[in-house]
Structures are given as C-alpha cells and as structure tokens.
Amino acid sequence: MDDVIIGLEVHVQLNRLKTKLFCSCPINYHDSEPNTHVCPVCLGMPGAMPVINKEAVKAAIKIALALNAEVQPFTVFDRKNYFYPDLPKGFQISQYDRPLALGGYVTIETEDGEKKIALKRIHMEEDPGKLSYKGSITLAKYSLIDYNRSGVPLLEIVTEPVMSSPKEARLFLNKLRIILEYLEVFDGNLEGAMRVDANISLKGGGRVEIKNISSFKGVERALSYEITRQRNLLRRGRVVLRETRHFDEVNNITVSLRSKEEEQDYRYFPEPDLVPIHTSELVDEVKDLLPEMPEEKRQRFIQQYEIGDNFAKVLVLDPKMADYFEEVALQLDAKLAASWIVDVLRGELNYRGWDFRVGWEKLRPEEMIRLLKYFVEEKITEKGVVEVIRTKLDEGGDIDAIIQSKGLFAIPKTEIERLCREAIEKNPKAVEDYKAGKKQAANYLVGYVMKVTRGRADPAETAKIIREMLSN
C-alpha cells in the first residue's frame, strides 16, 4: 500500500509500579469499587500538590533507552488545558516542548524483511479517570465517573508517520508490547493497559485521526475501515476532510467526532507545581538495570543452545517462554526442548487463551523435564506426551499418575518383539496367508499384539516389526 501513511500515538500504562504518578494512591484498582483509590491530588482538589514518583520516571527512562530514543538531559511538565469530566482539575499534567525523550525506533519484521519504525517522541503524563454510562451511551443523560485510574503513570510513545499498512501497525504494536513486557514495567493483560490513537492519510487526502482504540485487533480493523472509506471518497472525486474520528468496536466502523481542539487551544504552559527534572543521574542508574532485550536473547539462544532461528525467534516473543525454555534446555537436549515448547506447549496454551505465565503454573518446567525424559528414554510415545500435556493443563495432577492412569507408559521394544514372535507362532494360518500374498493378513497379527497389550503398543511400529519378521 504505497499511498497509505500511518502514524501511531501509543498510551502505555506503567502498571507494574505500585503508586500513581503524582500521589501515593495505589494503582491496583482493577477489581475495586469505584472511587476507592483516590486522594485530594488525583481528585484535583484545591490546594493539593503533586509530587512525582521517582520509579515512574526511571521506568519511563528505561523504556526510552530500550526503544533507542535520546533521553533529554532536561525535561519539564506542562498543563494541557481542556474540560472533560474524566479530568478533575480541568487540565492534564503532561509534557509539551520539553518531553522526556526524542527519536528512537522499533524494528519489525515484515514480509519484505526488517523495517525500522522511527519514533518522534516519548513523554510522560497522567491517565485521566474513567467514564461510563448507565445503559447505552446514546440514551444515558449523564456520565458516571470513576477516578481510580486518575493519575496512573502513562507514557505516550509517538511514531513518525512511517507505517504503510494496518498490518505494519499491528506488527509495531506487538513488538512494542514484547519490549515493554521484557522491561518488567508493563502488564499488557490488564484492562486499558495500552490505548492507541492512529493517524492515517492517503495520497491526496486529509489526515484523519482515530481516537482511543483499546485493542490491537481494533487498531488493524479501524485502519482497514478508514482506508476503504477514504479510498471510496477519493475515487468519487470527493475530499477526505482533516478530522478526528472515533472507532466503534462493536460495529467495526469509524464515526466522525464533532469538535476537535487545535493544538493551541490546549493552552499548554509549564506546570508551576512541579520542578524540572535533570535526567543524567537517573539515566546512569537505569542503564545498569536494563535486561537482555529480545534481539540479544535471540542471538544468544542461537549461539549458546545451537537451535535454529525459527525456534529462537518464537521463543523470545514472551520473556516467560524464553525463561521456560532455558530451564528445560539446561536438563535436556536444547533442540528437543525448543521443539516441544514452540511446536506443542505454546500451541496448547494459545488454544486455551493462556500465556506462559499461566503455563508455568499449570505445567512447571521441572514437570516438563520429567515428562520429556520419559520420551527420550522411549518410555512414552510422542502421542503420549501430547496427551499428558493436555490432561495436565486441563485437569492438573501429577505427571506419573496421569501416565499410569491413562496407561501411557510405552511397552519396551524388546517386549513388543517378543509379543510379535508369539503372534507369529500362535497364528500359523495368518502367516501362511501372508506368505501366499495376502498382505492384509499381517493386520491380524498386529491386532493380536494390540489386544494382548490393550492398545499400548504403537500399531505402526508393531506392523513394521511383524513385516520384517515375516520377510526373513
């Protein structure tokens, strides 16, 4: 899509911190009653004074560094003035012309190879409260406001307008999420953790902003809808107006928002209640805390464990999956571990809507190691391993107990061979038929072994042994 230009503004909650950005209210409000995590500061009461959370600044710097951005030596906060019921003060404390960081990039893998998505800026701000409506939004006469979210530390990451398809936008968001999860400052599973505003324009049309999309799928769908809408307008010789639109996630369409403030209407000015931040010492402190990032880990896995890039690439998608692999790979052949984790366990977890954090609890690495050791020692078949994994995930229980109760312990090869000989000795008629050219007579002999073992012998393996014995 050569004529499509997309830029994103991503709002990321620093939701692994303990407290809000400017007050000490805890941010673990997700299962709480409304307006129970509030104080004079985050309610915007007169005279209340903000004091910034040091860990929030450090987390923001950590992210900026990991995104290859330039942390500015000197940064200040500003008031962004507008009236909206979720904003108790009548302004949002944000950053304007002295943001925390400038530049940076995120590398994504497209079908045409790697692409660097350039970032414009990264700044800190406070999350507004949350509005809801009784019944449907159209029929409600007023809004209900919960300020538990008011003041939660938020980072706004703004890209340059450099993406050329909805898919690229999704790849960017996926990659960003992985990086944030690696840094241990962000939990993407919490509701509202990441919200996106998307700018999109087609050659010859005005730039349209789609506000507040709350899911990655939503971003892709909203952008796809906009491309179709704008293309149709241009095809009919109409103009695409520069405007702000809202994404209706239920009907998968975007709708025009009536009014939109111009930037100067926000009347930004420096926040007089906060002092400037000089970042150099904090940057030094944070640099030592930066963990291994996905790309470095991928390279290390390839070298240290000698696994293929196809496995390494997938393993680093989730830091918890990467850790899981390392636990297992220390005890077993790394290629075997990678293959079982990527090809089987990951799929089984996905199928159940779980990530590796849940997976870790359901099937602990030491249990996986025990199970795979049985497989290596040929005590259990490949099919058996899959069955144990599924049972373990769905019902829990002890690995050995599951194998016992399901009769999955494989019969040793020597025992199968003995039973095959027995089948041949006891069924001379079938042997005669087979030698006379009735090849399906072998099935009768396999059936004998299956019957004696109550189905625990591998039928293909048994058939192979029998055919070998009969051809001698």
């Binding site: 409304p34 307006n35 995590h37 809004s143 928002l257 002092v275």
Partner: protein
C-alpha cells in the same frame, strides 16, 4: 490585533458566557496584555527560558503506597453522585 472572535473562542474554551460589553472589555484587556508581552522581544535570543522561578530540581517521591481517602470522604462535597460514582455531563462522542 485581538478580535471579537478571538475573545469568543477563548471564552468558549473556558466554558464561560460573556455579555457584549464583557467581550469589548476583554478585547481591550487581552490586547494590553499582549502588548505588555512585547517587552520580551527585547530579550537577547540566546537566553535560556525560565520554566520555574523555584531553584529546585529532581524533587521525587518513593513508589510507596500511602493512605487514600475513604469513598465517603472523597464524595462528601459532591452534589451529584450515584452508586459510588461522581455524576458528570454526558460527553458527546
């Protein structure tokens, strides 16, 4: 020059209604404030802007949870409440 429309636009942003006399009055006052700011044009360009008059920097708080208000306290002065929520105007979207 500050126009009548500028004043009305700013009044609209501030969500206040002005009478015709007030619009005229603020037009003149806005203009005199802007004229006053012209003094800044005399400042040499290389001078660092002042963001705050307080000579402090890096004033931080540790990330340690403190006391919140109880919901009763938080809402005691609010005129419009419902089921533990503050009630506000419906925002057209």
């Amino acid at each position: 020059m500050i126009t009548r429309d500028d004043v009305l636009h700013i009044a609209n942003l501030a969500k206040i209604q002005l009478s015709d006399e007030e619009v005229e009055k603020f037009k003149d006052e806005f203009q005199s404030i802007l004229d006053y700011f012209d003094i800044l044009d005399e400042v040499e360009e290389e001078i660092e802007p002042t963001f705050t008059v307080i000579q402090l920097r890096n004033v931080f708080r540790e990330d340690a949870p403190g006391e919140c208000l109880s919901r009763e306290e938080a809402m005691m002065n609010a005129k419009h409440v419902e089921n533990g929520y503050f009630k506000g105007p419906k925002v057209v979207e």
